[in-house]
């Protein structure tokens, strides 16, 4: 090989994430606003590096006083300087890191330098493999002695073969003994960072500078350098077989090496690492998603849900849940339960509405509140929104103090403006949200949100509690009304489309009145078994999520006949990825049982019927005001009062156990209030409970079920007061 100018391979930085954690901590607790140097250790090894780039690692232990590491690492000493603002300067070390940490954004700007003299030009006379000069035994001896060297002596050392034996000397002690005559017996050994042949690591230049400083007589002479390179043999042992011997001609630099280097002060030292674009400039490491606790919480929560998607439900649309805006009307036991479950599903937009404050009895049942909240009588919606953010800072929760105006709760002149404000606020809230939960404790407070939810075609989920029973249901929507109403699936399966389903009030024969009036104390507060609200809250949330996942959304059909053997995997082409979606769920804790009735929309409903919807459309607040002043107004316009009269004439009116809805052909005319159609209407609204999952069709259940409905109406104080 002819003589040529020696090329060098630069070293690259590799930062262990723990380095940033430590730097963050130091900046925050030690440096603060000071710009301080910190001594650091770098770790280098070519063992276990399968990339062809020499990588120098820094990690959290880099800041330790002493270099302690596994045998495989070679120490590098350096400094890190933490700037208060990003800028540039130069200092000489083996490694030098300039960094600027933006603690708020977890952005770390950094620039590594591995400084080497710029002016040093080396000529390479020859390169050969180590085995040209060393026999097998000598190589083994060399390796054994090298391994015994102190770790700080390993990067640079002197080597000599004398009487066939290999001697290794620490550079520090032996360099003083070199002279013009004996230096030819020595090899200048160094742990080569480079993995490329014929091209040593760039830091060799510092070694040569050091040698020229201590042994100026070597200027212009040819010197043997031993580039130590490790190789793992097939027997797993490390060997020196890949090591090279460079014969290098050292430059003449009169009068001294330091003069040569500092000739041009602007170009004395080079070695700044290029950035990822191959340009001279700092790199940026954005550690926000790995260090910011809020980000960590968000990504962990997301990952948990993604695992569900990846492993079980590949078609689930988690992004949809994230984007959906949930409105919780009522922030009590139900509101707290629903909020927690939808939070678990990855909901990010949750709004709470309530008009009361946290009382001492609340926190034990209402899972978002604490004793502290009750001590200061914090508004429930505010406490719920705040505490939800404490649980998960990634949620955008908001709160609204609002009393929902109710039918039959008459309004004085002085209150008129305030009620109008409340109505406007509720109208806005319902328009702005996608899913509306009715989680209040009275029947009549559900009326206005039901009317509005229907009017704006929102998904409305309603939950109501008895002492040991619950009702969770979704309201039907009024879209695409010309569609086929009942679908016949494979034998045993029938479903009623979501745009034909009834609302909470479709089962009623009276308008909601003032149920707070004339009640004893135990009727006014919610007296329920504590588990009921958790069950109903969870079911409400799950029902909402299922609807969101259905391709038809609120129009999703409610299955009401599903045969004796339930095989939901098969056939039910209209279910969603989470399964089929009922219209309503009625549960009884006294028997730990549940049924899934589906009810059709009632054409005389006080909330979702055409006549009410049209009246609202035309007169808006004036219509509402009439209802607030006197709830019987609703019964008059829907024709319910007429119906009641007739019913009284008939005497007892009965539900039929066998009743099922007729198919397709069945229709009733809009606003037909004649006597004959009201009887039809009566029939049509018979409950379509057919089966639940665990029981066969069973009269007792139906009877219990009917009893429950009556009981509920009793509790609400509506029917009884009528009779």
């Amino acid at each position: 090989m002819s003589s040529s100018k020696l090329e060098f391979l630069p070293i690259s930085s590799s930062i262990d994430p723990s380095f940033w954690n430590k730097l963050y901590e130091i900046k925050l607790n030690v440096d603060k606003l000071n710009e301080t140097h910190h001594s650091i250790w770098g770790y280098f090894s070519n063992i276990n590096n399968k990339s062809n780039v020499p990588l120098l690692e820094v990690n959290s232990t880099s800041f330790n006083k002493d270099f302690e590491s596994q045998k495989i690492y070679i120490p590098f000493h350096g400094k890190v300087l933490n700037w208060r603002s990003p800028r540039k300067t130069i200092t000489v070390e083996f490694i030098f890191i300039l960094s600027f940490a933006d603690l708020k954004k977890f952005n770390f700007y950094y620039w590594f330098a591995f400084p080497v003299p710029y002016n040093l030009s080396i000529t390479c006379n020859s390169v050969k493999n180590i085995s040209d000069d060393f026999n097998i035994n000598q190589l083994e001896e060399f390796w054994d002695k090298y391994c015994e060297l102190d770790k700080f002596q390993k990067p640079y050392f002197l080597l000599q073969i004398k009487d066939e034996l290999v001697n290794i000397f620490p550079l520090k002690s032996q360099v003083a003994n070199l002279d013009e005559n004996n230096h030819v017996d020595y090899y200048f050994g160094f742990y080569d960072l480079s993995l490329l042949e014929n091209c040593p690591g760039s830091l060799l230049r510092n070694y040569i500078t050091f040698i020229l400083h201590h042994c100026p007589f070597l200027q212009g002479r040819s010197v043997n350098f031993l580039s130590l390179r490790l190789k793992r043999n097939s027997d797993s042992n490390l060997s020196l077989l890949n090591s090279l011997i460079f014969k290098l001609e050292l430059p003449s630099c009169l009068p001294s090496i330091s003069k040569l280097i500092n000739e041009d002060p602007q170009k004395g030292w080079v070695g700044w690492e290029k950035n990822e674009r191959g340009k001279m400039g700092p790199r940026l490491s954005n550690m926000k998603s790995f260090m910011d606790p809020k980000e960590l919480a968000e990504s962990s929560v997301d990952l948990n849900l993604k695992l569900m998607k990846w492993r079980l439900l590949s078609n689930i649309d988690l992004e949809k849940i994230k984007q959906t805006k949930f409105l919780l009307l009522g922030s009590g036991t139900l509101g707290c339960s629903v909020a927690r479950i939808i939070l678990g599903w990855g909901a990010r937009h949750i709004s709470f509405v309530d008009n009361s404050t946290v009382s001492y009895s609340n926190p034990v049942r209402q899972s978002l509140f604490t004793f502290e909240d009750s001590k200061y009588a914090k508004p429930k919606s505010l406490a719920a929104a705040d505490n939800l953010r404490n649980i998960f800072p990634g949620v955008k929760s908001s709160s609204f103090q609002l009393t929902i105006p109710m039918p039959g709760h008459s309004i004085g002149e002085s209150m008129l403006e305030e009620v109008k404000k409340d109505v406007d606020m509720l109208v806005n809230l319902i328009q702005e949200h996608d899913i509306i939960f009715l989680l209040m404790d009275s029947r009549e407070s559900r009326w206005l949100p039901t009317v509005l939810g229907t009017y704006f075609n929102k998904i409305v989920i309603n939950a109501a509690l008895g002492f040991d029973s619950y009702l969770v249901m979704r309201h039907g929507v009024r879209i695409d009304m010309e569609e086929v109403k009942v679908r016949q699936h494979t034998p045993g399966f029938k479903s009623l489309k979501g745009n034909y389903l009834g609302c909470y009030f479709c089962n009623d024969v009276t308008a909601p009145g003032n149920s707070m009036k004339d009640r004893t104390l135990d009727q006014q507060c919610t007296v329920t078994r504590p588990g009921v609200s958790a069950i109903a809250g969870a079911l409400s949330a799950e029902l909402a999520i299922s609807i969101l996942q259905h391709k038809e959304g609120a129009k999703a059909p409610a299955f009401f006949k599903i045969g004796n053997v339930v095989d939901t995997e098969k056939e039910l082409d209209n279910q969603c990825v989470l399964g089929l979606i009922p219209h309503s769920i009625r549960g009884y804790l006294s028997t730990f049982s549940q049924v899934l009735p589906a009810t059709e929309r009632y054409n005389m409903c006080v909330a979702c019927s055409d006549v009410v919807q049209n009246a609202f459309d035309q007169d808006r607040f004036n219509f509402l005001l009439k209802v607030f002043q006197n709830s019987e107004y609703l019964e008059i316009i829907t024709g319910l009062s007429e119906l009641t009269k007739e019913a009284e004439n008939i005497g007892v009116w009965e539900f039929s156990d066998e009743e099922e809805i007729e198919c397709v052909s069945y229709e009733y005319s809009k606003l037909d209030l004649s006597a004959s159609s009201s009887v039809e209407g009566n029939k049509s609204r018979g409950e379509i409970v057919v089966e639940d999952f665990s029981y066969n069709q069973n009269k007792t259940i139906l009877q219990d079920h009917k009893a429950l409905i009556m009981e509920e109406i009793d509790q609400s104080g509506a029917t009884t007061s009528k009779n």
Binding site: I15, P17, F19, I47, S51, L238, W310
Partner: protein, 171 residues
């Protein structure tokens, strides 16, 4: 798994001790971690390589793997947990890692490689799923002198962890 065959923590420590012995002898880089004392001892190793996207859509990336072999007290098996980061210290996310790793391109990749909390550190790590580990390690309990090594040699290469031949000699 019958009770006499179950994988105890003592067996784990025994196997791991042997790995460390061999690693020290050959400078393989495994080291012992004793964060919460001897009962929760586990071993770690770092290695570096260049990852290439088989579809060539993503750039080549030089990464550091930080492997942890830890005993999982709930699953009663050792787990192979690891983190992968780029040169600037930012981690490769699970989905990103999948893109680079052609071994996980089949339908059951979600069951095989997942993200779990490290049994000792309680921080999220990419982890070969412990359920699968149980299936794989079970036959080794009878037939291998060091089930941990046998299992690692079976699954390691899926996540770029190579074992020296010397380890296998002790099985």
């Amino acid at each position: 798994m019958s009770s006499e065959q179950s994988f105890t923590i003592d067996l784990f420590h025994c196997c791991v001790k042997k790995i460390l012995e061999i690693s020290d002898k050959y400078q393989d880089g495994w080291s012992l971690q004793l964060k919460d004392g001897i009962a929760s001892a586990y071993i770690t190793k770092k290695s570096r390589c260049t990852l290439e996207d088989p579809d060539k859509k993503l750039p080549l990336v030089i990464v550091t793997f930080d492997y942890h072999v830890v005993y999982h007290p709930s699953y009663c098996v050792p787990v192979l947990a690891f983190n992968v980061w780029k040169q600037d210290g930012t981690f490769l996310a699970l989905e990103e890692f999948w893109k680079y790793n052609h071994h996980f391109r089949n339908s059951n990749m979600f069951d095989t490689l997942t993200q779990l909390d490290h049994p000792v550190l309680q921080r999220p790590f990419l982890t070969l799923h412990p359920c699968r580990t149980k299936e794989i390690i079970e036959p080794f309990l009878e037939h291998s002198k060091n089930p941990v090594i046998s299992w690692l040699s079976t699954v390691g290469h899926f996540v770029y962890l190579d074992l020296l031949q010397e380890y296998l000699k002790s099985c």
